[in-house]
Symmetry: C4
Subunit: 287 residues, 4 copies
């Protein structure tokens, strides 16, 4: 137990509302933020529709300023409510928050770049932070564990896909040639991946019998290949499920990291439910 | 055991024929209903074929009236044969029955809306009620259980798909732009989902090298992603299968809800095979 | 042990060569037959290529006559070498053999129907009879068992696919209408299945925003749905694999039906390796 | 322990650098080679882009000569640094190395064949030799084992796919005919595989109602069929995973072939970590 002087009450309150979700105020804050993010994303999308952007230019810019100002306030509050602001500023979400707030100011001072405004789509990623509070945490965890466990296998597999695409792409370029849409080797490789993944746009399609025969080979390979990652994830996931069942029966499984407690000092997460001090820096936690 | 006065014999008979399927009359009723639904669906489809609808207008309208009158009579009988008609009227199937019977009357009195007539396609859903009697109940049950069990996982997964689509959709809009068919961000997102799900219509296709490179990334991701829900359902289903095997060996599994008994009073289902009274309201059941 | 008079030696020899594959002559017969079938299939295909059919008309007709005469002789030998010819004539393969031999005679006597000649493609099915002798019997068996075991589940599933297609097909017809290629409800349903199965030809594609939104729903459903049959077959197959492993360890598994012995009297198969008499009609078997 | 006279030190050194990867020099050699291969592949691709090849003809030819000369030197060193050069020359990688080095010399002496230059894409295969040193060996091994184990099943399955394609291809040819793009039976079969594998280019699409109905059948079959190989690989892989877990617990699993030691005499691999002599020819190994 460290002997640190705790931060003032107002700072603690803000920290609790913004970073955690176990008080009514904290929950409301998250819901409002979620609604604002969704609204702002819909605005970005609607603005891109031809005709609409120009017609309602004033409405769009007004709504955008309201959202941006709210996000700016939130960003500042996030910085001042923790003890080591740099911890937040240079964290993944800190950068996302900054990038999704700044574009409007930049276009205001330096003129409008549409590309810059599209950066606002990154706001979507902020949704993930909020969704941490839901009951889906456990599931998302399991899923990402299954994917991680099969990572190297999938890498090997994707590498094989690349090799097949490059070799067959070159072959198709030689067989079909620019007169049937296979303009260059990179474009042939693009077509090969389109075919191997069973997407099949049809913007380029083989026209010579030999090209169609090669295409047939690629498709059947793609058909067989699709089985591999599925089989891997499936088996991996089944094992995870089994292990989980076994662990659940044992005693150690009673403890799960599903509270939203965040240390005010170092932003560490996954504290035990009854924890009174941060398990990483020893700073006192408040419920 | 409640002490209720049982309903008159004719009411009981109609209830047995319409709602249940363990008497010859009940089975015949179901078969005729099934045939009528299928015929009426085929009529709706044929009517929509250009040229055919106008040419045989009289035949179509006549056949439609015959089907509609039969369905109207069935609807009325369903209402009068149970003790609490509102239980049926506001149930899922009650509403479906009403919606799939009323359009013709409305177009007769208020003039024809083709959109209204298409509502008749909802009759298809009535098929499900009849198919309850088949041996597929058990299988459908198992399937829906497996899907339900993997519900949250699939939700997490679909959410991830949405996020990928929105981010890559915005990117493709910036890279390809309206001149290659990526008119707006929503349309780009639509294209992104078309690609990620490996459908690949080809109505929109990237034409710049960078756009094609991004498309390649999306496709390979879609290829890897398709493995996840498959793996989940597969593992979940395997576990269900295993559990079922274990249960089947134990004694409690001797009882299965596969009879078609329906309480005349409250429409409750899944009565035990030897049940004499409704397990929900105590009303007497008759075989 | 029945006391039947065995058939003459020449009949026995022919039976052994044509129906079985455990003598050198029998194996050679099968190989020649296989080659002839493949050649004749290639001929049918080449003949259909525009220009080629007319140019080499004489060569094609000559080759076709040679193949047909060989098949005719084989057909007659099959009939005379067994005791009850009707057993063969009305069996599945008997009908296939007849249908794939007769077209040329019919076109010779009654003039050429190209549709009739395409019936010769059925010869392909004869390949299956010959492939019985390979080591793939066991695997094909396992596969078909896994598919059969998941039959009802897949039926339930396909029914669900049909329902989704009909409902969304009707919706798309109302939303997009004939001006965007959705000419009639059946065509809309066709498009819906094309999309749901992730094939996506792109010959018809939604153009209105609402239609594209509905298409997105269909695709994501198709994406999730594809997981179901895969999961089922996978789990079913895994169980089969496990059961097999357990059985293999026990004693009863020492016996497998992989010889090609066929009873000359009743065409029964799957005799035990050391069997001397048919297990179905008691007729003597000869090695 | 054989009593062989060891080769001179310079030869040993070169062998160690080129064939192995456990010394710093050996690792650097592999990295440089990998970079050169990747660069040369990118050159081949860029050269094929219309306009680019002609514009920077001089730069491309210069870069190509540099790469080719490096590869030539490497090829010669590989030959002289082992005791039995023919072992390398006629090995798989020996032939690949030769084929991917020679084209430039041939075009230099005998004039340019573009097809010949595309052979340089084979350099890609050389990447595999280098990647042997990575931690992915184990995973690739497991994967290829799972695929091998399900080989016969997948063969049976692919054969079934072929049969379905030929029969439905012939049917579609008869139903749709050359006027809707189904020019010949081989092209119809090509279309059938495009559809069955859910690729769906859309360059050919059925237009008659009957053709569209048949296409629907093919697609639903493809949808169901895709489940089979996935299920097989999945189950097979799950078993492999299980077996591995069991083996890992036992003692024999402590030994793994992941070092890059290669015998200088006979190019044998997979030596034990502490091995002093080749397990195949007895020639001394040096660390």
């Amino acid at each position: 137990m460290h002997n640190t002087t705790s931060s003032p009450v107002w700072k603690r309150k803000i920290h609790e509302i913004i970073y955690e979700a176990d008080t009514p105020a904290g929950k409301w804050f998250d819901v409002i933020l979620l609604v604002l993010i969704v609204i702002s994303l819909i605005l970005v999308m609607l603005e891109s529709i031809p005709g609409l952007g120009e017609k309602y230019a004033f409405e769009f810019i007004t709504a955008e300023w309201i959202v941006t100002i709210f996000f700016s306030i939130e960003y500042i509050l996030r910085i001042i409510s923790i003890n080591k602001p740099t911890k937040y500023i240079f964290s993944f979400y800190g950068i996302i928050d900054f990038l999704s707030t700044i574009p409007l100011y930049l276009t205001f001072f330096f003129g409008g770049f549409s590309a810059l405004l599209a950066v606002r789509s990154l706001r979507l990623l902020r949704v993930f932070r909020i969704l941490k509070i839901t009951r889906y945490i456990g599931e998302a965890d399991k899923l990402s564990r299954a994917i991680k466990a099969s990572g190297p296998k999938i890498a090997v597999f994707l590498f094989a896909v690349m090799v097949v695409s490059i070799i067959f792409g070159t072959l198709m370029y030689l067989v079909e040639g620019p007169e049937h849409g296979f303009d260059s080797i990179p474009k042939s490789i693009y077509w090969c991946i389109v075919t191997l993944t069973t997407v099949g746009f049809g913007d380029i399609a083989p026209e010579t019998p030999l090209g169609q025969f090669l295409a047939t080979l690629i498709m059947i390979m793609g058909y067989g290949i699709i089985a591999v990652p599925t089989g891997i994830v499936s088996a991996e996931y089944a094992q995870d499920l089994k292990k989980n069942n076994e662990t659940n029966r044992s005693k150690e499984s009673n403890y799960r990291h599903v509270n939203t407690q965040v240390c005010q000092n170092c932003l560490a997460k996954k504290h035990q439910d009854a924890a009174q001090f941060c398990h990483k820096c020893g700073y006192p936690l408040h419920d």
